[in-house]
Symmetry: C2
Subunit: 418 residues, 2 copies
């Protein structure tokens, strides 16, 4: 048996096969606006999961749902007490694309199919999971799928939530044929590794002309809402020196914060995504201005030190402008490093198989961050055209889709057959 | 006859009388939120105008409506071919205060009453007008009252407009008992002067502890909408160097524009009152940002030179940020100087009568700017508490209300009896 799994395989059909299967999965939940809307426990979601189950079974995987609707397909190994898991989430945002989540499910199934066809029974179980939910786009709860797999989801967290049409989470789950996990049972102990493939949702790979990335960490983030209170005044009758212009102060803060972030440099990113002004009338000096800040970095200390400087500077600017500023941090998530050994193993595979890859961090959140504290975890990315994500225009070249599958095959071979 | 009209009068009751009449007029259109909503041609408006007519007639003025609903009350002079006009508008904004507009009507009636009681028949007509409309708050048309008096309102400008409930302007006017002016008739030729008293709607008088202002000009203004197009991107996966952040560019522009305006100094004022960001989501780099700019100054050249620098700087900043910026100027109104002779005459009256006054410009628009091109015009201001305007909390101390009436009495005496 070759040291390199993919040496023995013919990948000529892989680009078309992967793109075709993504097209097929995208037909479940195809919406009127040319995108995919496949929300947790919806009719489209149920149909997609059952269709995936059929496909898994069609080439000999042992497929099953867990209590909440995560779909698993297992290629059984000689030692069934150990499992190498791959996969991603099957749900989409409203009017999303065909790639986010779906690609990780399709890539995993195809990878296992190639491994089975070429090498037969592995040493340990190799398993694909099509996870129930990651996006938080139907109900105000994200990572329902992965959190149930690692045992960190709690029944009481979803018992009183409803979707935007008022349908309770619990009713939607029951109507789809699922229910709660028995929380007295501990998490699965057979999981020895988790490898998720996903589209990048950014444009680093495209810009650097790479086909694949090995992800070594997922950023931590802090999110803030800043509320500035000045004085609403008549735009004509209030001399400049009499004003407490909340938007003037806000623009000063936003401009400086982003300058500061650029000075610190990669991988720090800082975004002011939302701005609201009151009363928001052309001829009234703004009395209030509200904006959000989203700060991300792979290193916790760097997040802490940047946000401390940022907060101090905002307080100075606030004083300078004679306004009141309320700084509310409402999210503080630590960075999640991927497992060093799994990352190195995948990197080595990419290297030896001549894949055009780079090692990078993920600036977006993924199921892998839920797995990582419990299971040795790593991720693979393929490029996203122009970085477009959560949009019907999501696209990855079929050739790159295939490179991602190849990288996954290499990783699963190393983890499952050796 | 004294050179100073107000020497001969007892003003002890004037503060209470003026405040009481404002309270009374504010009862027409008193709304559920504690403010005044007295919109053009509404039931409350009709009742107010008829009640004012009764009051005018009760002390011997000859009162009449014109075709569109401006209410005039005349103290006839020996020479009826010349008229000195005072007054303001009777309409309010939605949920406005008791002072804006109303004070000019009440002050005018009381002033004429005092003059009639003390000096009897004047040399020329002294006339009060309670104008139909100034605010543009029911229909998208402002200055309907004054524009009809000077003959600049056009039938076709209002024939196809409706209020926010879909009621056509023409129907509302007819239901209130009024109709269009005969546009073949020229403007009135008897008007020799117009003096409007109004609340300042700013806090200059309050801050400088003055009771009255003689207004020597009304600012010109330019208004702009700035639309910046960058690229919407994922807040986590897009390194700072890859971004075209429309809000970053907008904050840079807003901060610098306002700094530039402060450097130029009074009487220039510049306001960014409205800001809108797209998609306005915490974790998305803004693809678009829109904001308005309102620039005012008493001198046209200063407006032109400031806005030229401002536009040039915005274009530079736009290039620096790699975004596209569309700069749309949609209002360009020239400053309106008040009549030098009338201003001097009123100033002299204030001086000689020992009023605590200052000469200043108006940063807000008023009916006087419509009159000024046709009739020698000037204005008087009294303080607005904290500059509050278009709000139920509008307030002026009764003592200051009385000082404004005294100044008006002096002005009308000079213009009407000499």
């Amino acid at each position: 048996m070759s040291d390199l799994a993919i040496d023995a395989m013919d990948f000529s059909a892989l680009p078309e096969e992967t793109a075709g299967k993504l097209e097929w999965l995208g037909s479940f939940g195809k919406d009127a606006k040319g995108g995919v809307s496949r929300l947790l426990y919806s009719k489209e979601w149920v149909e997609a999961q059952h269709a995936l189950k059929e496909w898994m079974e069609s080439f000999g995987l042992s497929a099953r749902f867990d209590e909440v609707g995560n779909l698993f397909g297992t290629l059984k190994g000689k030692d069934e007490s150990e499992t190498i898991l791959t996969g991603s989430h099957v749900d989409s945002v409203v009017n999303g694309g065909k790639y986010d989540g779906a690609y990780g499910v399709i890539a995993g199934i195809i990878a296992i199919k190639y491994l089975k066809e070429t090498y037969g029974e592995p040493l340990r179980n190799i398993e694909i999971v099509s996870m129930a939910e990651e996006e938080g786009s139907r109900f105000p709860y994200a990572f329902w799928g992965s959190k149930n797999i690692v045992g960190s989801a709690k029944r009481e967290e979803v018992e009183s939530i409803s979707d935007f049409e008022g349908v309770p989470f619990v009713d939607a789950m029951k109507n789809a044929g699922f229910g709660f996990r028995d929380e007295s049972k501990g998490p699965r102990e057979d999981l020895k590794a988790f490898v998720e493939v996903h589209v990048e949702q950014g444009s680093v790979l495209e810009t650097e002309k790479k086909s694949v990335a090995v992800v070594n960490s997922i950023v931590g983030q802090r999110r803030y809402t800043i509320e500035i209170s000045g004085e609403a005044n008549h735009a004509g009758t209030t001399p400049m020196g009499y004003r407490k212009d909340a938007m003037y102060a806000a623009s000063h803060m936003i401009y400086e914060i982003i300058n500061m972030a650029k000075e610190v440099g990669d991988p720090l990113v800082t975004t002011v995504g939302k701005v609201e002004v009151t009363p928001n009338i052309v001829n009234v000096v703004p009395g209030k201005a509200l904006f959000t800040i989203d700060v991300r970095h792979t290193d916790k200390d760097s997040i802490v030190s940047f946000t401390e400087s940022m907060t101090a500077r905002m307080n100075e600017i606030s004083k300078e402008h004679g306004v009141e500023t309320d700084i509310d941090m409402w999210m503080d998530a630590d960075p999640v490093p991927m497992d060093k050994n799994v990352v190195e193993l995948i990197e080595k595979q990419c290297e030896e198989n001549g894949l055009n890859y780079k090692v990078m961090h993920s600036g977006a959140g993924h199921d892998s961050q839920i797995f990582a504290p419990f299971v040795p975890t790593a991720m693979l990315f393929v490029p996203s055209l122009k970085g477009i994500s959560h949009n019907p225009a999501e696209f990855t070249e079929p050739a790159d889709l295939a490179e991602g599958v190849k990288a996954l095959i290499g990783a699963l071979y190393e983890l499952g057959y050796k």
